[in-house]
């Protein structure tokens, strides 16, 4: 937990030169989205059913059905 926090602060305060809005064309490309596509939700669901781990991927992490 501490290392995650440390890494977060590191990126905020030291590592990054601010990218201006007019330079965000590539970052705003749909394939650069930091999340799964809508139709990937079913893959995430079956992985939750067939594997012991879940969460930290924007999908379900437990509850909502009897399978997890």
């Amino acid at each position: 937990m501490k290392s995650i926090l440390f890494l977060s602060l590191l990126f905020v305060f030291t590592s990054c030169k601010v990218v201006k809005p007019y330079d965000m064309v590539n970052i705003n490309d749909p394939d650069m989205l930091l999340a799964n596509k809508k139709c990937e939700r079913f893959e995430t669901n079956f992985q939750i059913y067939r594997e012991g781990a879940s969460g930290a991927n924007g999908g379900k992490s437990g509850g909502g059905c009897g399978c997890n």
């Binding site: 990054c16 590539n26 970052i27 893959e43 079956f46 992985q47 059913y49 067939r50 992490s61 437990g62």
Partner: protein, 505 residues
């Protein structure tokens, strides 16, 4: 508005400014200038308040998947048996802009499945062999009584089911779009389970939208309508008397294939004298994520969830067989020596108990995504997760996807690969691997130690202008995906997904 007031004052003061002029021409000039200024004033007011809408127009996504799997470690039959399953999941997601800041999203769908494993909640068919699968007519001729097998689907009522669910989400964004919040409520139902969920989240962007932090909280208040293995359920229904109810007309066999004395002291009986004691399952999830743009082509997301579950966390459908208890069967005695072989088509072992797991579980997954834009036609999407919980399960997940654009960006291919590995939960042991002296036990291979590989390909077509029309809606994008999944315990799965996005004209 201040400008408008100034114009009115100027008109009123006109006579004072030009006391000697009173001709119509001068008045017309003043009137024209005044109206133009007022008009410009209103125009400027509107421009100052103009905001790009969070969602320009209503969108409808139709997404669905077709999933099949097969394996030989069914948890309903205690860690052996067919895991054949099919599932189809049509779902609609409708997003409605309520105004420039607010969006209402309705997500409704079903998951209709047929499962050989679930059907064996009641594996006993009166025909002499379980239906479906690869039944051998010669075997049927040998034994004509009640029997079952973990290696084929039975005609049990639990062979098919439909999960249906709806989630309603409201989101609001601030005027500068740096801050947003959302609230959601959900309801889901299947024949043995009901779920009510609610929650919400906050998201804040800063550092000129280069950095974002989000916080989400979700609560699920779920409830079992428990269904038990039929022999265990029937035993309690008949008042623990093997001469009544389901077992009344049926012979029970021992390991040697001999018919037992149902009134004897060593006759079969379930390990415990009570089933589910708490039908509730509660899940509390807190999620924190942090994203950072690292350069014009690189961005990162770090996330951590904290999940606490309480209540009945085991599945009451799943049998467990103990190694320190004698085995009892219903069916063809000559098939008992081949019980663990898929060749067994007509004998079924009576369960010792349902799986039992602790009434609380805490999960702690850490996730990271790193996406890199290489060229206008190639990007790299990566994901890694480390997970651990207090049931002793530790896992790592790594995946990579390489979107390749072509056709002037209208088409994209998505080759992808995912690797997953996990250790076993403390309470897992295979078929006949548990001792009855344990407090907790499961033979669910989803909680066993294994690794898996998933490989697939996706395709996307996007028309930003949505020129193709259907019933007043423009087709914005089409997604197709296929993935093959291979687990080291022998389970394999195929999943085909599609998504179609329409936008209102």
């Amino acid at each position: 508005m201040a400008e408008n007031r100034a114009v009115v004052v100027a008109v009123i003061n006109k006579k004072n400014m030009f006391p000697m002029t009173n001709d119509k021409f001068t008045n017309r000039i003043w009137l024209t200038v005044s109206l133009l200024t007022v008009g410009l004033g209103f125009g400027q007011t509107e421009n100052n308040e103009y905001k790009k809408r969070v969602l320009e127009t209503a969108e409808i996504d139709y997404v669905m998947s077709y999933y099949t799997q097969d394996g030989s470690h069914a948890s309903v039959t205690g860690g052996i048996g067919t895991e054949k399953l099919e599932d189809i999941t049509p779902t609609f997601i409708i997003a409605l802009p309520l105004n420039s800041d607010d969006v209402l999203t309705i997500d409704a769908g079903i998951s209709a499945y047929s499962s050989a494993s679930s059907s064996n909640l009641d594996p006993f068919d009166a025909s002499g062999a379980s239906g479906g699968g690869h039944d051998d007519d010669d075997d049927r001729a040998v034994y004509a009584g009640v029997s079952g097998t973990p290696w084929a689907a039975s005609s049990g009522a639990s062979a098919q089911d439909v999960w249906s669910g709806v989630t309603i989400n409201f989101s609001h964004s601030s005027d500068d779009r740096d801050f947003s919040w959302n609230a959601q409520a959900s309801f889901a139902n299947e024949y043995d389970y009901t779920s009510i969920g609610f929650g919400g989240g906050l998201s804040q962007q800063f550092n000129e939208k280069n950095t974002s932090i989000s916080l989400t909280g979700l609560v699920f208040l779920d409830n079992w309508n428990p269904k038990y293995p039929t022999e265990i359920d029937s035993y309690f229904e008949a008042g623990s008397n093997l001469n009544n109810g389901f077992f009344g007309p049926i012979d029970i066999l021992n390991q040697s294939g001999n018919i037992i004395n149902k009134n004897g002291p060593n006759a079969w009986q379930p390990h415990v004298d009570q089933l589910i004691t708490d039908t509730a399952r509660r899940t509390f999830t807190g999620a924190l994520s942090f994203s950072q743009i690292l350069s014009k082509n690189l961005q990162l997301l770090l996330s951590v969830d904290l999940v606490r579950q309480q209540g009945w966390l085991a599945n009451p459908m799943q049998r467990v067989y103990f190694s320190d208890k004698p085995n009892f069967y219903v069916g063809n005695p000559s098939s008992i020596p081949n019980y663990t072989s898929p060749k067994n088509r007509d004998v079924f072992q009576l369960g010792d108990d349902i799986e039992r797991l602790p009434s609380a579980r805490t999960k702690l997954p850490f996730g990271a995504r790193l996406n890199y834009y290489i060229t206008s036609s190639l990007a790299v999407r990566t994901y890694f997760r480390y997970y651990q919980d207090d049931w002793g399960l530790v896992s790592q997940t790594a995946s990579i996807e390489l979107p390749v654009k072509f056709g002037f960006g209208k088409y994209t291919l998505y080759p992808n690969y995912r690797y997953y590995t996990q250790t076993a939960a403390d309470y897992f042991a295979p078929y006949e691997g548990h001792l009855s002296t344990s407090n907790f036990y499961t033979s669910d291979y989803d909680l066993s130690a294994f690794s898996s590989h998933q490989i697939g390909l996706g395709f996307n077509y996007t028309d930003v202008f949505a020129k193709m029309k259907f019933l007043g809606f423009g087709l914005k994008s089409v997604d197709l995906r296929y993935n093959y999944y291979d687990r080291s315990d022998g389970l394999t799965a195929n999943i085909t997904s599609m998504g179609i996005k329409f936008v209102m004209d």
